[in-house]
Symmetry: C2
Subunit: 225 residues, 2 copies
Amino acid sequence: MTEQASVSTQQIVEKVWLSIAERRLRPGVQLKEGQLAGIFDVSRARIRQALTALEREGLVTIIPNRGAFVCQPSVDEARDVFTVRRSVEACVVERIGNSISKADVARLRNHVALEQTASARDATTDIIKLSGGFHLLLAEISGSDFLFGMMRDLISRTSLITAVYRNTARFNCGPDEHAEIVEEIASGSFKKAAALMAHHLDHVEAELDLREVRDISHDLRAALA
Amino acid sequence: MTEQASVSTQQIVEKVWLSIAERRLRPGVQLKEGQLAGIFDVSRARIRQALTALEREGLVTIIPNRGAFVCQPSVDEARDVFTVRRSVEACVVERIGNSISKADVARLRNHVALEQTASARDATTDIIKLSGGFHLLLAEISGSDFLFGMMRDLISRTSLITAVYRNTARFNCGPDEHAEIVEEIASGSFKKAAALMAHHLDHVEAELDLREVRDISHDLRAALA
DNA sequence: TTCTACTTGATTGTCAGCAAAACTGAATTC
DNA sequence: GAATTCAGTTTTGCTGACAATCAAGTAGAA
C-alpha cells in the first residue's frame, strides 16, 4: 500500500506535453534522458519511450546521438497544420453525422460545461486540457480509430503552435464556439456544424502572432515541478 | 572489414513494411520480438523500436503485454484514409506551387522514369516502393516536414489497405498518371495538377473492393449465431 | 462430459551497467 | 588573436539478464 507504482509512460508524456503547452518548456530546450529519469524517478528506458511518443506527436525532435529537443515549428508548418486540421475535422463532423447517439450529445454538452467552468475560474491547466479534449472527443465519437489518432497528433501540434505563436493572454479556443458547434450537431445540422467548425479553426489561427521565437529557458526542473 | 554493422531500425521497418505490402505477412499475424530479433540478428530493443515505428505508421497494432500484430483496417477506416489523403495531397501540390525549382522537376521526371521501367519489368517490389515514393517525393519537394511526415504515414496506411482490399492482380498506382501530374507541375498548371491528383486517388480507391467484409472470423461467428 | 483451478511454456516489460558518441574547456600552434 | 587539438566529462545507444504477464494445456471434481 505504501509501495506506489512508478509513473507510466503516458503520464510522463502528458506532463511534458502540458509543460510545453503552458510555455514552461520553451522550443529548443533539450530534454535530457538522465535528468527526466531523475525528475520522474523512473528508468531511462521509460523516458525514452515517452520521448519517442512525443516525437510522434510532433512536440519533440530527436536527433540521433544528440538528444531530444522541444520542437520549433515554422510559420509555414503552423499554417499547414491548420490546413490539414480543417480537412480532418470536417471529415470528423461528417462521420459523426452518420451515427451519433443521445448519449454522445450528452457527453459533448457535459464536456462543454466543464470547459465553461474552467474558463470562468481561469484554471489555465484545465482550460488547455479541456479545449483540446473537446476536439478529441468529437474524433472519438466519430468512431474511427484512424481519425482519432490523426486528431490526437494534430491537437498536440496545435498546442505547441499556440504556445509559441499566440500573443493574447487568454486562450482563444473558447468554450462558446464549442457550445455552438455542439448545438448544431444536436439539432442534426451537420453541414452547419462543419461550417462553424471551419470558422472556429479560422478564428484560432487568426489570433496567432508571427513574430520570432523568444529566448530559451534552461530550467528544466522548475518547468516540470 | 569482416565486421559488418548491424541492421538499422529503419531497415527493419522497411523490410517488414514491404512484407506486409507484398501480402507475405497477413493481417492478424503476430510479430514476435524474439523471432524478429533472431531473423535480423539484432537485440530485442531495436526490434521494439521498429515495432513502435510501425505502429505509428498504422501498419501494426501493439497490445500491451500481448505483442504486436499486423493491422486489419476496416472498410470505413480505409475510406477515411483516402479522404484525408486527398486533402493532404492537395495541400502538398499547392505548397509545391509556391517554390519549385528546375532540379525538382528533373527529380520527379527521373522518378517517374524509374517507375516506368520497373512497371515494364514487372518488378513487384520496386513497383510498390516507387509508387509510394512518388507521393513521398512530392511531399519532400513541398518543403514541409509536417506534410512529409503526414504523407509518410498515409502512404504506409494506404499500402496496407491496398494489400488487404485490392482485387486486381496488378498494382493500380500506375506511372502514367504520375507522369501526367508531373507534366502539369512542370508547366506551372498547379490547379490542374491538383485536379489530376484528386482523380488519381479516386482511381486508386475505386479499384479496391471496399464492399466485401474481409474479417472471416466475424463472418463465421455471425453465420453460426 | 464439462467446468474450474492450476501448472507450464512462452512472450513481453523493465532495469542496471557498459560502450560509443558528442560536448566542454584549456592548452597549443599558426 | 583565431583556429585546432586533445583530454575529461556528459549524454545517448545498446546489450543481456531478470521479473511480470499471458495463453494454452492438464488434471481433477461435479
